[in-house]
Symmetry: C2
Subunit: 196 residues, 2 copies
């Protein structure tokens, strides 16, 4: 089914890859149907057969984004000794991804570009969320007690790290003369412990 003997062969994947490249080079404004198609060498209406619309193609790009995002989060996870180290590694990975691929990060979380209810994208996003969920287990923080503790812990960590990534990307945390934030996510994240 995923053959390689059509006109182009593997247009579907080629379009996603071309889109990712353009995103790195020119950002979201450069990510046009015509630019993507031209890069692959097909007409600008060719993507319609595979993705329906630009939004569909962007959703596929976002899906690949979530896969890489989850890879970033898991990166330092294996060599982390303690649970606290694992937490730090996952959170750092989250931010590192946003800093390394700001435009892709923007695309992934914006309903303007991505269909967040898409099943394939949802699966990739849940895989990313799974890391955050595992990290959240048993975390102690003032206010944690109460209904839906696990879910609220996930929401707390996710909000914190996502907000940091978003604001850092928007340049709201710039410190010195270089464009980088004055403080890392780790120095802004409360040091909670794991109990029970």
């Amino acid at each position: 089914m995923e053959g390689k003997k059509y006109h182009h062969g593997d247009l579907k994947n080629a379009l996603v890859e071309a889109g990712l490249e353009i995103l790195e080079e020119s950002g979201l404004p450069g990510l046009s149907l015509r630019a993507i198609a031209t890069r692959v060498g097909v007409s600008h209406t060719a993507p319609k057969n595979h993705f329906g619309s630009l939004r569909g193609l962007m959703t596929a790009i976002g899906t690949e984004g979530f896969r890489r995002h989850s890879a970033f989060m898991r990166e330092g996870l294996t060599e982390a000794a303690t649970r606290a180290d694992r937490l730090d590694a996952a959170m750092s990975g989250y931010v590192r991804f946003a800093e390394a691929h700001p435009h892709l990060f923007e695309l992934m979380f914006s309903p303007l570009y991505c269909d967040l209810r898409d099943e394939t994208l949802g699966a990739a996003a849940r895989d990313s969320y799974a890391v955050l969920s595992e990290i959240s287990e048993g975390l102690d923080w003032p206010g944690a007690e109460g209904p839906d503790r696990q879910r609220r812990t996930e929401m707390m960590l996710w909000s914190l790290v996502h907000g940091y990534a978003q604001l850092a990307k928007a340049g709201q945390f710039v410190g010195g003369d270089d464009g980088r934030p004055a403080h890392s996510i780790l120095s802004v994240m409360p040091r909670f412990g794991y109990g029970g």
Copy 2:
């Protein structure tokens, strides 16, 4: 200088207001130079004299957005008795604004639409940040000790509330069958105290 006796009279303000209306009705994709101009009753190139480009007009819209944003944050502030109540009020206001005006909120924080280095916008944004800054003073949280404590406390609270608002807006926190989040910002915000 801000007279009312030209062709239109007060085009500059009229354009911003029309833009805000369109934003509420049709969201960011509907916010085109031509749509705004048509609503006011002028040609689509008229805004150029006042704002230079669509980006300039959007920056002005974002500036007005920050003014309203800061008003939301200050809303419940006067009737708050304790410092903890003031913190809750400000954070709730932040999120209420994002929920009430999601498209404007998106525009305000995205470099794609707003020139965040604009001086007027910067002033309005700083006024909003001032509330957060005041709320942050003396807040105790594990990890607060160290260099730049005040700034890091602001970053911590801002990241948390901004991330919550962003993710809630993207529908990542939906709980039941209605589209609303399952938990409020207050039930997700660690209960720190004020010491020293």
